[in-house]
Symmetry: C2
């Protein structure tokens, strides 16, 4: 529809995720014929690869989609460091990476009456105290591959690595909003909307929003971040400025931030209204009603095993199992249970690192457990976490299956063989 | 130990829950002999029934313990009204109901340096604006009976009725704390501690505490309530004044409130430090370490079927299934899935009543679903709820089993037979 009256190629090139055999198969039915070479229009400049300007990436990443770029670190590396190195941090891009000139960049902060301010990077750095938060970001689609094995879903086949942790530095969104004249209290369901500088072929930006109360809460620590692990934001992670909403699904931490808008309703963006929502397993694409479910904000309690990997052969003796656990809304991980027999018996894992402040546990917990294992055994290793509200992960995937494959947080299961 | 050097009878009479055949069986081993009648001391006055002053109760309640009184409404009645009538509201008493003279009653509000105030009921009513909140209270042990069927646990065998909802009216705890000179900010892990006027045989009151941040948060709406559904608090529910902490386990909503104390640590009470905590299924009474788990505050997402009842014979045709769903921390119930085939297929239930403000959903949602059922069928009806953080209930009970039988929130299952 966006291409009506014009060339389809720019759209085809942008949504390159459609370049798949089963899509070409579907389209075959609609083939009318082929243009003779002399009738074909010259390829417009816009039909050139819109992703040609994307930055180089670390070769160790597991790539789920090249255009737009979506990739996760290998699980073994993910569990090795509390702060994920920038070049290994999972990347979830919806569109081409925009090229932003930091010298001319301005952030617009606006309200419904047209009032607002515009801020340069230098102003964002100098006018507001720099605030640092160690926060884990997780994609709603993390662990989607496990859900696809129950029944196909729409979305990229993320393994367990669409989650990473960094130390973010920047201005508090609260401070910027107060500077722009927005106060503490808003009645009703006001949101703060974010627009990225990444745009689709029709010029529409990536967008998302969070409730106003969270945006202005000192305790929620929402950042407009210009630093990631002590470095300038990498281009894949939002250079020169991104939102970081601790405890909330990654989709709301808008990258390449161009505009902040205080609004009486949530963002009209496709990704806010018609995506990133959870549904019952009984809902399919014929019956789904996107107005019937709330946009995902806080995520449920999650954990996964990063070591050993599925199918591994592990030596008899002492087996060390490692993994991560995290929950949304700042709820701390209070316990991780690990089973080596598919969930019949359990041990309590050791949580590594410092215990966070309850209610502000924005970062994951890494954990490990060591247990004797006998040669020849076939183990089904399982982990499940408990958060500060004593919420737990569900036992199995099928009852939480949903057509978009989001919110995949059942017990993580890894089968291994013990060698002699 | 409390009775050392004195008479055991007052303690035996108070902890009347010990009056059970298996306890008497255990004690038989330790029998030394019997006093001859002339050696027996006259029964002291304190050995008289300490529960003799308890109020009369509604005969429809299902009584789990008479002394102290612990009772729940029948499930069929529970699901019939959004506000639970006062006389049917579940009652969880730890000790005898104290007789409080409202004319001489004073609430003490104190801090660590000895500063504080004392307030009469008239002052609580006149000096602070009356605030009303519709909130559900749930006992940590709700649905413990299901957990006991996996393996025995210590605690009263609550069915699904240790949960009820009322419209509470009173002074905001926040307002009273500000009046007493306590400010907005506290570093570290400060708590606000509550002591009841109900005391054990050694004179120690029931006690519990909540984090300082929740106590002073306007959004958390913690009340010092003197009204319940528009009436004076009933004696069983804390007359003349009780705490109501919305979104938090009932154990912190201390009844017959005598003292509020701002403290750098949580309440030293047995019920805060050595009870009402969750543990792994691998922890037993020989290995439990009560310092290793946080005191339960916010509860996880919960739901149960109130109609039909287990074992019922229901007529063929249209079956209506009804129930409740609730989550802690003000997280609204966003969906309830119901299955008639043990969890293989699902339908989405209709949520009744008005939708709450997200994040301040203190009251449960009642729900219902209607489906055709064929004569002769054996149905396993299952429900599971999803909250605003997209947390879900676990599939089964065994993996969340814990030695105290708390936090029992697996899918609720009810088997019925369809008649002709």
């Amino acid at each position: 529809m966006l291409a009506a009256g014009g060339a389809l190629e720019p759209f085809w090139a942008l949504y390159a995720v459609h370049n798949q055999p089963h899509v070409l198969e579907l389209l075959r039915e609609y083939k009318v014929g082929e243009l003779s070479p002399e009738e074909a229009a010259p390829a417009p400049a816009a039909a050139q690869d819109p992703f040609a300007g994307d930055p180089p990436r670390h070769p160790g990443l597991r790539v789920n989609s090249q255009k737009p770029f979506n990739a996760e670190p290998p699980a073994e590396l993910l569990g090795e460091s509390f702060l994920t190195p920038n070049e290994l941090f999972f990347t979830r891009n919806h569109l081409p990476v925009p090229a932003v000139d930091p010298g001319t960049y301005r952030l617009r902060v606006e309200g419904p009456g047209g009032r607002g301010v515009s801020l340069s990077l230098a102003e964002l750095r100098s006018r507001f105290p720099k605030h640092e938060v160690t926060a884990t970001l997780q994609c709603a689609g993390n662990r989607r591959a496990e859900m696809s094995r129950v029944r196909p879903v729409k979305g990229l086949a993320w393994d367990i690595g669409a989650i990473s942790t960094a130390r973010w530095g920047g201005a508090r969104l609260r401070d910027v909003l107060l500077h722009a004249g927005f106060g503490q209290e808003r009645e009703g369901e006001w949101h703060v909307c974010f627009e990225g500088l990444d745009v689709d072929a029709g010029g529409a930006p990536y967008g998302a929003s969070i409730p106003y109360g969270r945006a202005v809460s000192p305790a929620a620590e929402v950042l407009l971040a210009y630093e990631m692990n002590g470095q300038e934001l990498p281009r894949d992670h939002g250079f020169p400025l991104r939102v970081v909403v601790p405890g909330v699904v990654g989709a709301r931490s808008v990258k390449w931030l161009g505009r902040v808008a205080v609004s009486p309703a949530e963002s009209p963006s496709h990704w806010q209204r018609n995506d990133y929502k959870g549904f019952s397993p009984c809902v399919d694409w014929d019956t789904v009603d996107f107005t019937a479910a709330p946009a995902i904000q806080e995520l449920p309690v999650q954990s996964a095993i990063t070591q050993p990997r599925p199918g591994a052969a592990v030596p008899a003796g002492e087996l060390t199992v490692k993994g991560y656990a995290w929950s949304g809304g700042g709820r701390e991980v209070v316990r991780v249970d690990v089973s080596l027999d598919g969930g019949r018996t359990w041990r309590v894992a050791r949580l590594l690192g410092e215990r966070p402040v309850p209610g502000r546990a924005w970062a994951w917990a890494l954990w490990e457990v060591t247990a004797p294992v006998a040669a020849g055994a076939e183990l089904e290793i399982v982990c499940k976490a408990v958060d500060g509200s004593y919420n737990v992960q569900p036992d199995s995937v099928a009852p939480i299956w949903n057509l978009r494959g989001v919110l995949s947080n059942a017990w993580h299961r890894v089968r291994v063989t013990v060698t002699h």
